[in-house]
């Protein structure tokens, strides 16, 4: 059977100790909470940390807390099951709860965490293979090799972002909390990702995601839809997160502000201002939704690195954008 390699396992007593261990050990160490992403990748030798630092138990990473300004703080260590089932979150941030609910399978959501999903390694079916398999193709740019087999001329890795929660976090304009030995800071979720399959996070490697902050639920609406082969278990081959704020005047009021995010196509979830522009200033209708879907379609350039044919994945951007936006009508 496929076995984990040997590694040192650290269980720090505090957040400070956790980030200090990581700082001291550098690239040899990785953080782990649920381990649903890291451990299988260690078995396949895609990730080869000598030290694994457990953070799931740290107090700073727990809980869902309402702040005085009406915003909400969610600990990065809460499980996706908790996130998907939390009644406050389901009421105030239904798109996020829905995205969490759509991750993997119940067993994996029971241990997988929000932080883990936000930081989920980019995926590619030339990369998500065992060491032996990858050796058969002389490895790839993302790990141990020097060619991106998805597009041989590509100077950068094209592995695809496969997180369900990140597109929603970006659509909601969430802030990501980061802690390191140098202190803490927050970055907008939209600035947290980078369109590079290897360096897909903009944070410093030693920074730890401790939680996210969501803006107050004051009248805007949001949704998330996911395309995958099966009704469970699978990573997205397309994810659309949508967020709109209408003016006064009920459901027929013009859209004042919108954010639509394309997930699982590029190496990062991509905010699509062209799609938002198609909505802004007009009431949400079949026509405006169709225009926004066209804009999303133009933007999407999937590569041959996930399930399904890339031409079909691109085709699906239109109906799935429509699905996401139709949820916001009424």
């Amino acid at each position: 059977m496929l076995r984990l390699p040997n590694f040192h396992y650290h269980v720090p007593e505090s957040l400070a100790e956790a980030v200090r261990i990581k700082k001291d050990l550098g690239p040899l160490a990785m953080f782990v909470a649920g381990g649903t992403d890291l451990y299988p990748k260690m078995k396949r030798r895609q990730q080869e940390p000598h030290h694994v630092v457990q953070i799931g138990h740290l107090e700073e990473l727990q809980g869902v807390r309402r702040l005085d300004d009406g915003s909400c703080r969610i600990g990065a260590g809460i499980t996706l099951t908790t996130l998907a089932g939390d009644t406050t979150l389901k009421r105030d941030y239904p798109a996020l709860a829905e995205a969490a609910h759509l991750v993997a399978s119940p067993q994996l959501r029971n241990v997988g965490t929000l932080g883990g999903n936000l930081c989920l390694d980019t995926r590619c079916n030339y990369y998500d293979q065992t060491y032996e398999w990858r050796k058969g193709i002389s490895f790839c740019l993302k790990k141990d090799g020097d060619t991106c087999w998805v597009a041989r001329s590509s100077p950068k890795c094209l592995a695809v972002t496969s997180t369900d929660t990140a597109p929603v976090a970006i659509a909601l304009a969430a802030e990501i909390e980061l802690v390191s030995t140098r202190g803490d800071r927050t970055v907008p979720a939209g600035d947290f990702y980078s369109n590079d399959g290897i360096r897909y996070l903009t944070k410093d490697p030693d920074e730890l995601v401790t939680g996210i902050r969501l803006p107050p639920p004051n009248g805007w609406r949001s949704s998330y839809v996911k395309l995958r082969r099966r009704g469970t278990f699978d990573f997205p081959v397309l994810g659309i997160a949508a967020w709109i704020r209408r003016g006064d005047g009920g459901t027929d009021a013009p859209v004042e502000e919108a954010r639509i995010v394309l997930g699982a196509v590029f190496s990062e979830p991509v905010l699509a201002p062209e799609a938002a522009d198609a909505l802004i200033g007009r009431p949400l209708s079949t026509e405006t939704i169709s225009d926004a879907a066209d804009a999303m379609y133009k933007l999407a350039k999937p590569m041959d690195n996930t399930d399904f044919l890339l031409s079909w994945r691109k085709e699906m951007v239109k109906p799935y954008t429509k699905k996401a936006l139709e949820k916001l009508i009424g």
Binding site: G136, R230, D307, S311
Partner: protein, 803 residues
């Protein structure tokens, strides 16, 4: 039927409690003191010659105990006597990515894993072949130096009557081409084996195998040991589906390593390695041409199959014959011609998967018939009903059909599904389709030529009333242990849960050829029936003597043995055993089963005959989203002619399991390879090889048609494989009914459906499927006139055609 006390009752399985409690020991659960762990180094190239393989650096690693290379096990093996083309470890060549080259055994699995990376293997790449078309076009280099010619492994050309005459006689002639992609078994349990060597020179192998008898033979051959010194114990299989029916290289390797080290050696394959063992569904490109009368009766059919065999023979020769054999047992076909060719390609070998070689041609045939019905403006269900093969008849290719309940199956599903109100009458996007099929209840001939029984059972009766059943069959989850207990319990009038079932141990149990070919219930069931009847006779004689009544009037029921005329006059079953043992000595009986001879006497007539054929009819209702092409099954109604249910709950379980597997093959499963960088399996994992989950499974309504077959135990026929077959074409035909597009290629993925819908919208041909049929150099067909043309099952010289 109601007189049975056990047969036909929905009893639990005899191994259910252990399975539910997690107490069943599968091969990987076995742990022995001083056990070592084995890992295999596998080829990273799809085709090449093997030079020097140096395991020295690996052997030098602390914790490594021993290693093997191809030269250590030079004898070939293979499941079929005619294709002994495998080596335990590559000797001269590697033939696919994943072909094993060397083995290392170490104190722990991590060390063995690390050590295989230190092996220096010189491999010289050769040009590789990844498709049927390429195999036909590329005779050199040959992947094997045997076979028909070039990279064609096997050619089969059979002609039963003049099909051209049939086409001339027809009102309508239609030709279709269909491609069925390969897919794999995907059992939950990965293959695992444990070998132990005793100081007195005996070998024991525990393995997750469906065929301990064939593994036994292969071990004796390759290890050069007397079979008498080898014991093979098949552990309960966590799913087989045909994927554990070949003797495997890893089984031989751990056996040899146990011999060399004198220590127990275990191997458990990774999921990826299971994909490399494969032996699953052959990709087949098919062309079928039929001549039909206005009423849909078939005047002639020409069926051609091109099989992508992968790197080794496996069951492939049988698969090739099977892809042309069972077309004839459902509908009357007056003249029938079959051409089959199997290619060697540089991919994991294909072999038997549930339905072995028949789901692909069945799919092509049933889709073809759906199109013919539309051409003729006939209801496809009615057309099938009107052209059924009659019971107790012989087909054009000399298959002897006994009981035949397909008509009843079709009637059941037509009624249950509301077919008449739905077909061609539902809104755009919703459709309904029908298909039928048949399958063997065990092959009529064994894999290696012999005239011994196919299944044997021994019974041992204990003075305390205990009954032990010994049989070589292995329970792969289908319930064969339970069937043995039910059959014996019925005959002896005892509780099946009091019976001890000992199976699949070559030292302890008489041979059963294995859990493949849907043969176990019929064959070991018949053997058990015979053994139990013999025991019953002994007990009846002894009890009758004690009771002073005629032995012919003794009844066995409810754990008692008594006089039919006065049930008070009797004794407990245990007392009857004591009486019998007092009279006759130790009570042990045997039973065995050999299938009847079949009428076909031409070369190739050995593939297709069966003591009894099961029949299935399925109707599928689907939704097709015209915007995405996504197909979802709403419900499947399936009628299955089981002959007689030994246990209807297990029968329905098998029907539903077959439907589930068929659904996956129809809609998503495929053994996809990349051949750009290297011929590598695209998705060798349970996450990325897409198989349906409970979310994709639809409701299934099962109708059991019971018409006991004289050749089955209590009339039972098979159910393990048959119900998969109609599911796939029923879905394809339903997709057509829903959106008017033909996807003549399995799996029917959303990409293909959407492409066809878009083509239809633009007024183009709304069909996705093969358009070219590469022709190998066929051989002269063997001509066998069908029975109604005066044939006797033997081939004749083909008559010269003037001009």
């Amino acid at each position: 039927m109601s007189e049975y006390r056990v047969i036909g009752k929905p009893l639990r399985k005899v191994d259910a409690t252990d399975k539910v409690l997690g107490k069943t020991l599968f091969a990987d659960d076995l742990i022995k003191p001083r056990m070592l762990f084995c890992k295999l180094l596998r080829s990273h190239i799809p085709h090449g010659t093997v030079g020097k393989v140096d395991i020295g650096p690996a052997l030098a690693m602390p914790g490594v105990i021993a290693g093997l290379i191809g030269e250590d096990l030079p004898t070939t093996f293979g499941i079929l006597p005619i294709s002994q083309d495998e080596h335990a470890l590559a000797l001269d060549k590697v033939r696919f990515v994943g072909d094993p080259i060397a083995a290392i055994v170490a104190e722990d699995e991590e060390t063995a894993e690390a050590a295989i990376h230190l092996i220096q293997a010189e491999l010289e790449p050769l040009d590789s072949i990844s498709s049927i078309d390429q195999a036909i076009r590329t005779p050199e280099p040959r992947i094997h130096d045997y076979g028909a010619y070039g990279n064609i492994h096997k050619l089969v050309n059979l002609e039963f009557g003049d099909v051209e005459e049939g086409f001339a006689e027809a009102d309508h002639v239609r030709e279709d081409m269909v491609f069925f992609e390969g897919n794999t078994h995907l059992p939950i349990e990965q293959h695992a084996s444990l070998a132990d060597w005793s100081p007195d020179g005996k070998l024991t192998l525990w393995s997750s195998t469906q065929t301990p008898h064939y593994v036994h033979k292969a071990l004796a051959r390759v290890l050069g040991m007397p079979a008498a010194r080898i014991r093979v114990i098949a552990c309960p299989n966590g799913g087989g589906f045909g994927g554990k029916s070949d003797p495997f290289n890893h089984e031989i390797v751990v056996a040899e390593l146990a011999r060399r080290t004198g220590r127990p050696v275990k191997i458990t394959l990774t999921r990826e390695e299971v994909f490399y063992c494969h032996r699953g569904r052959h990709p087949i490109l098919m062309r079928v041409k039929s001549g039909v009368k206005k009423d849909g009766s078939i005047t002639g059919m020409h069926f051609q199959s091109l099989l992508d065999g992968g790197g080794y023979g496996s069951y492939g020769v049988a698969s090739t014959f099977y892809s042309g054999a069972l077309q004839t047992v459902t509908y009357n076909i007056k003249r029938y011609k079959f051409d089959g060719a199997r290619m060697f390609t540089n991919k994991p070998p294909c072999g038997p998967k549930r339905g072995h070689g028949t789901p692909q041609p069945r799919h092509a045939l049933e889709v073809h018939l759906d199109k013919i019905a539309e051409d003729l403006h006939l209801d496809p269900a009615e057309m099938r009903l009107n052209n059924l093969v009659p019971p107790d008849s012989v087909t054009a290719n000399y298959l002897k059909v006994g009981t035949m309940g397909l008509g009843k199956c079709i009637e059941k599903v037509i009624e249950g599904s509301g077919w008449k109100e739905k077909h061609r009458k539902m809104p755009h996007g919703r459709g309904i389709g029908i298909a039928c099929s048949s399958y063997l209840s065990g092959a009529g001939l064994p894999i290696y030529w012999n005239s011994m029984p196919h299944s044997g059972v021994m019974l041992k009766l204990d003075r305390g009333g205990g009954v032990a059943v010994f049989c070589g069959s292995i329970d792969i989850g289908q319930g064969s242990d339970s069937v043995l207990a039910y059959v014996v319990a019925e005959v002896l009038g005892i509780d099946p849960f009091d019976i001890r079932v000992v199976t699949a141990d070559t030292d302890l149990t008489p041979v059963d050829l294995g859990s493949y070919s849907s043969r176990v219930t019929l064959m070991s069931g018949n053997a058990a029936l015979q053994a139990a009847e013999k025991a019953r006779e002994l007990l009846a004689q002894a009890a009758a003597e004690k009771l002073e009544v005629p032995s012919g009037e003794i009844v066995f029921a409810d754990g008692r043995v008594f006089w039919a005329s006065d049930p008070e006059k009797g004794m407990s079953f245990a007392k009857a055993v004591v009486a019998a043992e007092s009279k006759f000595g130790t009570i042990g009986t045997v039973g065995s089963y050999t299938p009847p001879r079949s009428p076909g006497q031409y070369k190739g007539a050995g593939v297709g005959p069966s003591p009894a054929y099961s029949y299935s009819a399925a109707i599928a209702e689907v939704d097709v989203d015209p915007e995405t092409g996504i197909v979802s099954a709403r419900k499947i109604w399936i009628g299955h002619d089981i002959g007689q249910s030994i246990n209807p709950m297990l029968v329905i379980g098998q029907v539903e399991g077959g439907v589930y597997m068929g659904l996956g093959e129809a809609l998503m499963e495929e053994m996809a390879y990349r051949d750009r960088v290297n011929i590598v399996h695209k998705t060798p994992s349970m996450l990325d090889y897409k198989s349906p989950t409970t979310h994709e499974m639809c409701e299934v309504e099962t109708y059991l048609v019971e018409d006991p077959d004289p050749n089955g135990p209590f009339g039972a026929k098979e159910v393990g494989q048959g119900p998969l077959l109609p599911t796939i074409p029923a879905i394809a035909n339903a997709v057509y009914d829903a959106v008017g597009v033909r996807i003549d290629e399995v799996p029917i993925t959303p990409e293909k459906v959407l492409r066809a819908i878009r083509a239809k919208e633009k007024g183009k041909d709304p069909r996705i499927g093969p358009t070219k049929f590469p022709e190998p150099e066929w051989s002269e067909p063997l001509v066998v006139p069908p029975p109604w043309e005066g044939g006797d099952g033997k081939p004749v010289e083909k008559k010269e055609v003037a001009g």
